[in-house]
Symmetry: C3
Subunit: 337 residues, 3 copies
């Protein structure tokens, strides 16, 4: 792709030879000839051997290679990367070992890999890829342009939108974890007969588990991105454009509204609510029923970051405080003698 | 099912038309015609459009729909739900793609799905369902009426009781994590040649890992329920009717006695002991060798909930305490001037 | 194996009948005839029914059974265990249901199990075992003498060394978790087009996820051992002989140098560095960009164990400190009256 084309695609301002050929993206440090990279901030000016550098529109350092000025260099880099490195195109084929129910409704341009199973009345949208060993139950709906990676399992009656990616081993719609104690007899399973509905442009990480609703639905909204090994319990409601990092666990019926950012290894008790725009730091713990408002939150039990820092500073200062009290006692004792 | 039959099955007292037909259970909020739901506590009185409400025997509000009075409405609801929504019945079949060793001993009424493998001398009890892609090693024993969900793996020599459910991707009997340091050469694997024994009426969540014993056995007792993504290390001993929520990790040789309840994301060091009836809150940390007695426990390192709350209150009060000490110092200084 | 042979193999000093036959290793408590066990420390002297006991060279208690004296009994036990219980030998076979690309380069003495898939141009070294349902992408390189357990997935272009074990369900090379926010449009995927390189003698636990580099490489060095359900993000660099316990999560671009020991459920922010020889306790939290030096570390945010203990003691002493301040205030009030 020629630099001039890239600049046009990115609606950026090119400074340099528009005929240079770009083959790949690369990191700033490792980039070499025919590669394009980016500088996240205007003031960074280390060396790169790239053939072109995407920079912030305010960038004004002297540099010997062509540059493209844009408002958000990292975003521009991500956008051109998809063009230069399109997702692997798999041929339109249903592998001879795939077992597809006769009642399944299959779209056009599908890739269905080896040892895939697709159950009764399930629907798969156009150009979706179902990779080796993925298992899709009965009455499942999957939209168009999805990628279902190897060994994914989607249980009966679940629904997946368009352009959604389920990474290897994701489990959608297994039973939620709910029981009623029956005295000395132990536990009776509470019904887990609901479903899971996942929106468009969602990404679900490897081995992440999204349990089906107990009676109703577990929902994940459009544009939400979830990392590996995350647990999403029955009846959880996750809004749009939410980001959830690895190993976080969300208990039953908790609600996470639109545009939240959740760190890794966070734990949510059940029936908590996270209001739109909240950011929760890694390893935080949100108690059952807690309402977390917009802002940045940290710690267990979760509190506003400022309070957490203040409290942490107080704890760090405890040795000195103790020393001061000791000193006061000594002085008082001296006086009274 | 007619209401009169349901009332009889639940040994409850029906107040209303016994001929009403019930087809499904539903949540209190979403229930509509021909559906039954429940009120957990006697004093809750929102609206429902259900055709019948299961209530506590002390319930005495006026209500326009039939009710069934029982001692434990949630338990009764769970019990009738199993009758109205029996687990999916799969036909008795060994799928033509299943690879079953000639030496395996298979019970009656089995469902063995596509791409299942069953190794030498393994035994599978009557009416057990082994779903697509599950892999069962050699010399494995599985009881009757079990459900082995897709992609489960059971390693050689492990034993599973009756009526037990292994959810998608559960790994039973992989090697434990044990090594001996050999100086600059790094680590030598400590033998991981034991087994796993899982009892009756157990449920193991999706992607939960139960490692085989190093030399002896890893055990999970009857009626124990374990959520998704839990780690159970070599030689762990878990008693009967224990509940363990998602993402908890239990290190080697730790013992959890009967009737304990363990929250999510709890971490146990090795060789700890949790006495019968203990309840441990989410994200708690139990140090190696620690003995946790009956009662409610919280925090890292784990402590009785009361102590944890008291300590937390003290920490929250640190700013004020610091202020008080500053005030005292000021007064003392004024006096001495 | 005769005791004399075992003593010679272990370069230990035998005290007893060299002709005794040993068939198996066993634990100290459970060992019986024809079994060998060990005493970790010289001063332990409970009863064992083993036919031989491996002891420390300083051991001098009277004992009625043959002993072998060595420098490190546990290490010696682990070494003889491998001889007495060699890993299961699977026959050289490519199962008829395995789908192996015609362009794959296969070594000698391979076991390739049922329903395995191996992609284009992938290479597998001599005597490696690829068990049932493992899925190997295109251009993957796997060394000699590896064991790839059931349902493992290795994505395109990843490299695995020699003598490495990937446990059931491990996911090597799935996309890292990186996005760029594009205002109200939500998130654009940052390119995840790098690779994973895993060294020799590595062990990766069940369901552990090692994400591919975003642009570069995610690396795991020789001799490193990683437990189950661990998350290793894009571009993480792990050195040699590192031990990482279960459910730990390591964020993008973090570096863990050689010979570190990391507990379970530890969380690492991105771009952190752990210097060679550091030991980090379970459930610790390492902030992004933090440098953790050699020594023992604990808590969130992580601090040296000594400081952590001191601080914990201060917090435990808060009730008393508060009482002291109250007492001082009372005395001052009395005086001023």
């Amino acid at each position: 792709m020629k630099l001039a084309e890239i600049a046009e695609f990115l609606q950026g301002k090119l400074d340099g030879d528009g005929n240079s050929e770009i083959l790949r993206v690369a990191s700033f440090e490792k980039a070499s000839e025919n590669e394009i990279t980016f500088l996240e901030k205007a003031d960074n000016s280390n060396q790169t051997n790239a053939s072109c550098l995407i920079v912030h529109e305010n960038f004004d350092a002297k540099i010997s290679i062509p540059i493209i000025k844009v408002k958000n260099p990292k975003l521009a880099f991500a956008k051109i990367a998809v063009v230069l490195h399109p997702p692997k195109k798999r041929e339109t084929i249903t592998h001879k070992t795939a077992i597809v129910s006769a009642s399944a409704k299959l779209g056009k341009g599908l890739f269905i890999g080896a040892y895939v199973t697709i159950g009764e009345n399930s629907e798969i949208g156009d150009r979706t890829q179902v990779r080796a060993g993925a298992k899709i139950g009965d009455n499942v709906k999957i939209g168009a342009n999805c990628t279902i990676h190897p060994n994914v399992f989607i249980e009966d009656n679940c629904t997946i939108g368009n352009n959604t990616i389920l990474h290897c081993g994701a489990v959608i719609g297994a039973d939620g974890f709910g029981y009623v104690r029956d005295g000395a007899n132990g536990y009776v399973k509470f019904p887990q007969i609901g479903t899971v509905t996942i929106g468009d442009d969602v990404e679900i990480g490897a081995h992440t588990c999204v349990d089906r609703g107990a009676l109703g639905e577990t929902r994940i909204g459009n544009g939400t991105k979830i990392d590996n090994l995350v647990q999403i319990a029955h009846n959880v409601q996750i809004g749009k454009r939410v980001v959830i990092a690895s190993q976080t666990g969300i208990s039953g019926s908790t609600v996470i509204e639109d545009d939240c950012v959740i760190g890794g290894q966070v734990g949510f008790g059940d029936h908590a609510t996270v209001k739109s725009g909240a950011v929760i730091g890694s390893q935080a713990g949100v108690l059952p029923g807690k309402i977390v408002r917009e802002g940045v939150w940290w710690g267990t039990p979760v509190q506003p970051l400022d309070e957490y820092k203040r409290q942490n500073a107080h704890v760090k200062g405890l040795a000195r405080l103790k020393e001061e009290v000791k000193e006061i006692k000594k002085r008082l004792k001296e006086k009274s003698e």
